[in-house]
Symmetry: C2
Subunit: 325 residues, 2 copies
């Protein structure tokens, strides 16, 4: 196959954690950009990015990264994106596209847009993908394949810029959806991502503080369901602190509905109302089926977790069947 | 390797769903028993068990299955185990071991023990393993490898019988733990299994009933965390109805603690208390690490979910970089 022509000459990544480093790897693997310039907040991360060869240039400041870039993607916790926009604004070249990867969009538009100069195209983006691991070593080129990337361009954004960023994400394997309203994005993600994380963080904390159950018991018997929650609750604390601060209203609204539903199931348990429980438990299977059908989760049981083989099992002597038993 | 001598001459399985059929497959693969007799509630399941060749004999009644068996394992929802014990009691041979696989142990002891005749050894068991799928086709021989099986023999149970059942589960690859108190088992499992399921069932129901977010949006953007919960919420409704009815007190106690913790995090969100959120989110990573370290979950990111490769990505023409940009 002929080498694809790059979409952008120079991609600047501001922040190179799980998401930023996955973008770097995928953009390079796909030939989506000619050159990658990267920066990170700490010297240790910048050094690691250089060691991993994730970028053509690693620079020390956000301004230096943005200079001359055609596409700038801010891959930092939501809470610092406004400040970064302010810092890079003077260096942005006319016609550049500025984007982000934040899990919240209303706050991003509110915090970043006012700093960006005219002639620069601001196209907020949210790739709905990730793992529980963080940092530049955790990324991989396939992270976005088959996942959705949501764009929320403010009204009046240049359509060509939106299309070009959409093409970039498609080259990385993502499906692209454009939402006119960042508020709607935040409501949708409050239920499909933020509330699940909040609940997982809560229950893992609850389990760890019980007086009657030891931590060793919690760990050993976690395969009963609990371990699934610990994966999500191992996600980056800074990123998630910022998500909840920035998407407070939508999260509180979803929490209200969740609490009502939990009270209803609690009441059914207290009253021994088996019919109500069965009816609820039977309904939720359809959602799982739908997710697997559209390719958003593995059809393999247990997420396709590996199962080691059976042990060689020579029978312990005292238990051998004798004829008299 | 020499063929191992079987631990039991005849194993009777009463119920052949995910767990029962996995026991059948593993016991046969390991040569743990000489013969397997199975029965199931419905004719359709009995037919399927015969088709799959899971047992040497498929019989129509619980009593017929128990007749002449050295080990009887009741693999049925918790709510019907008492009735089954009553049915099989007259057929049980002297010296037989009767066990189960229920996720609740206090109710099992209360419901089954009174029916069992003297000379029969009752050793309740709970293999903490499973998937979201149900039925005889869903089982596999490796299901119990590396997982824990908890035995809760009532005081005074014959030690040799307990040891022999423990040896059986070890042949199937499980680790075995004996707990003196079924009440303690129920408290531990309330937090490591029952509450996680209740919460997963709740949030999946909540997401499905929102007025502002469509089901299609919930499915598409589920990779943000929600999809993990849908797996658990796809578990067998009958089994789980019975678990919550049978372990009401422990579940309600854990729910109380969970609700307090959730209120505290909600308050932190409402007040914009980033420090409290960060502090909580940073603590829960250690639990995940502990679970992976003791081999109760995969160290691979995202449970080791498969990631398809990057697409062949010829560049869409209109976006090619030209010199003037």
């Amino acid at each position: 196959m002929a080498q694809p022509t790059p979409l952008f000459n120079r991609l600047a990544l501001i922040g190179v954690g799980l998401i930023g480093s996955s973008i770097a790897r995928a953009a390079r693997a796909q030939g989506a950009v000619r050159e990658i310039v990267a920066t990170a907040r700490t010297a240790a991360t910048r050094r690691r990015v250089a060691e991993l060869g994730l970028a053509d240039q690693v620079v020390e400041s956000n301004g230096a990264a943005a200079t001359g870039a055609d596409l700038v993607i801010v891959c930092a916790p939501v809470g610092v994106c406004g400040e970064i926009a302010k810092e890079i604004a003077p260096q942005l070249k006319r016609g550049a596209i500025v984007s982000d990867v934040g899990s919240v969009k209303t706050a991003i538009v509110r915090d970043m847009a006012p700093h960006l100069p005219p002639g620069v195209h601001f196209v907020p983006a949210h790739p709905v993908a990730g793992t529980e691991h963080s940092g530049p070593d955790a990324g991989f080129a396939e992270l976005f394949v088959g996942r959705w990337c949501i764009l929320t361009p403010p009204e009046g954004t240049d359509a060509a810029a939106v299309d070009k960023l959409a093409a970039f994400w498609r080259m990385l394997g993502a499906n692209v959806e454009t939402m006119a309203s960042p508020e709607h994005h935040d409501l949708v993600l409050a239920i499909t991502s933020h509330l699940p994380h909040l609940i997982a963080y809560t229950i893992v904390g609850t389990a760890d503080e019980l007086a009657e159950v030891t931590r060793s018991e919690v760990l050993k018997f976690s395969a009963g369901g609990f371990r699934d929650f610990t994966r999500i609750a191992a996600s980056d604390p800074t990123m998630w602190r910022d998500v909840f601060l920035a998407n407070k209203d939508a999260v509180l609204e979803m929490l209200g509905t969740f609490n009502e539903d939990l009270s209803q199931l609690t009441r059914a348990i207290r009253r021994g109302d088996g019919e109500a429980l069965f009816e609820h438990f039977a309904r939720t299977r359809a959602i799982r089926r739908g997710i697997v059908e559209i390719g958003q989760d593995s059809p393999a049981p247990d997420f396709g977790r590996a199962h080691p083989g059976l042990p060689d099992a020579p029978l312990p002597r005292p238990y051998a069947v004798s004829d008299e038993t």
